[in-house]
Amino acid sequence: MNSIETKPPKPQSVRRKFAPWADPAAKPLISFQNIVKRYGEVVAVDGISLDIYEREFFALLGPSGCGKTTLMRMLAGFEEASEGKILLAKSDLSGVPPYRRPVNMMFQSYALFPHMTVTDNIAFGLKQEGIPKQEIVARVDEMLKLVNLRGFEKRKPHQLSGGQRQRVALARSLAKRPKVLLLDEPMAALDKKLREQTQFELMDLQQRIGTTFIIVTHDQEEAMTVADRIAVMDHGKLVQVATPAEIYEQPNSRYVAEFVGDVNIIEAAVTRAVPGDIALKSDMLDAELRLAQRADVKTGDSVAVALRPEKIRIGKEPLSEVHANCAQGVVYDIAYLGDLSIYHVHLDNGFVLKAAKTNLSRQIEPPIDWDDRVNLSWTPDAGVLLKG
């Protein structure tokens, strides 16, 4: 039954239950322990401790200069930590040169050897290991198949498109079957369409081969698409390490809330600190702000509340019997994105709230237009209370 064999494998749902970080018995594959990296006076990485587990797809996310690349390069062996140590499968990597680490990296520039063919590029690491020729040929072929590049064996890197080069770089870094694959902004050079497609292919690939992947990226959408867990970094520190959904829905700080996705930040003071039914008062809103969050706050605390635009209902109809979690204003800007529209609403008291609305019906004339008077409302579980 050939047709069954050639069918793509059925998507596996193991990922959904994959959460070794939540299992106290699970042993991490990689363990960063109090890593500090200084360049003279500059502290690039400032005391990071982080565990990454086998088969995990882990993303280091942050703006440029946040230390994410430095952290990855320390794992690859290109930089030595100033303090702390990195354990890989329980063995200390300190002082181990890059060419002896069971870790491979895919470079942002791809770093393909320009004088070698695709085959020779992929075989480079295998030849270095002294693997018999027969096996090298088989392994290169396996890699070419894995990244869909059969037929390009004899090409030189300059004869390939950007996407093909990226695949060669991926195949080359996977050929040695590393314990960990490091990806340094692997899709930065691809256009948007190809990038999205490649993200899914990369996830698929990681599922199939089961290697631990660590990706460095500044693109939050990319991190959220591919990763099991994301570490958001800022100024050499970890701000939050959590799953994409937790990062988005339960950001632990204003920094994370603002870096990942679009958000309204409402500064407010706690007027009633009942866990599960917190009431707040803000200068931005005339109405009371209520949160169904079990946060540890006291009456009178100054806090910030993050409110995602898509969690705000926007409409021209008057609100019925709502006293809390609402606002009125005038639309002064619309960003039409096709699938949804983002409305910038000038509230009567001068502040601005952003609200998103899915464009459910096909209409050229927007149902809500510039200068329309609109009502905004949201549920008590829409907002997130941020400390600090």
Partner: protein, 302 residues
């Protein structure tokens, strides 16, 4: 209409170097070539026929009929000239090989040095050009002679008991050429090595190559075009070198540049020296064509 303008501009830009070559290379080449087909004569200029365009077409044709290849036959049948060519190629090749061996580490070190330091180091490499070439070669006589700096230093260090006979040998010629052409080797090598992406070496290390292995498997192959460019920039002028063998070489140093000079100035045989010069050009055409091909391939790979 825009593209028409641009193509005119493009044609003019391309024409300028061709025009330059036509006036300063092709025309002199043709004149030398014509002399090489003439016969020696006791006259001024010392060869016949002398072409002139003022005597009519028939006279010109009669004179052209006098031209022949007997000088070439003469040159190629005399072992002295063949030996001279061989020695030129051999000494130039030896000097070029040494230049690659010395120039590569120097270019590599400059390319790997801190960015701010590189212009200074490059300036140091080309600094000798600020002094006249002739004076620098003369200076080597002072270093290499029997009582020169080198022998004095080695004697006082007790490394030798008898002064070395270096001056007026082929060794001195090779030393002189290595010294003189050094910047021509370092600069193209530096240009290639400096442009090399550092992440290539990191990728090699990442894939299990020690620094030495990465050097041989990545750095050297990637810089081959620089090695070839540097080698040809040194080899081609070194083959025809006159000043260095004349000043530093001995009586047995018969490099072709010196032989041409002898034929021209001592024997007053313009026709034979012209034939010799044309033959050098033909010999050197081979490496020049190789260089051209390599450059073309380099351009294609960008």
């Amino acid at each position: 209409m825009n593209s028409g303008k641009r193509s005119l501009f493009a044609r003019v830009t391309v024409a300028v170097p061709f025009l330059w070559l036509a006036v300063f290379f092709l025309l002199p080449f043709l004149i030398v070539f014509k002399i090489s087909l003439s016969d020696d004569a006791v006259a001024r200029p010392p060869y016949v026929p002398v072409l002139s365009f003022g005597e009519g077409w028939a006279a010109l044709r009669d004179k052209l009929a006098l031209l022949d290849f007997e000088n070439y036959a003469f040159v190629l049948s005399d072992w002295l000239y063949i030996y001279s060519y061989m020695q030129s190629l051999l000494l130039a090749a030896l000097a070029t090989a040494i230049l690659v061996l010395i120039g590569y580490p120097v270019a590599y070190a400059i390319a790997r040095s801190p960015r701010a330091l590189r212009p200074v180091l490059l300036l140091l490499v080309i600094l000798p050009f600020f002094t006249s070439f002739l004076i620098r070669v003369y200076a080597w006589i002072g270093i290499l002679s029997r009582e020169g700096l080198l022998n004095q230093s080695l004697l006082s260090l007790g490394l030798i008991s008898q002064p070395l006979e270096i001056l007026s040998t082929n060794i001195a010629v090779v030393i002189g050429m290595v010294y003189s052409y050094f910047p021509f080797m370092v600069l193209p090598l530096y240009a290639v090595l400096e442009r090399m992406d550092d992440s290539l070496l990191e990728a090699a290390a990442d894939l299990g190559a020690t620094p030495a292995q990465a050097f041989w498997r990545v750095t050297v192959p990637v810089s081959v075009s620089g090695i070839v460019a540097g080698a040809l920039l040194c080899f081609i002028p070194a083959v025809g070198e006159f000043v260095i063998p004349d000043l530093l070489g001995g009586s047995d140093t018969q490099m072709i540049g010196r032989t041409v000079w002898n034929e021209f100035a001592v024997n007053r045989s313009w026709s034979v020296s012209s034939a010799l010069a044309i033959l050098i050009l033909l010999v050197l055409l081979v490496p020049i064509l190789i260089y051209q091909r390599m450059q073309l391939r380099e351009l294609e790979s960008r």
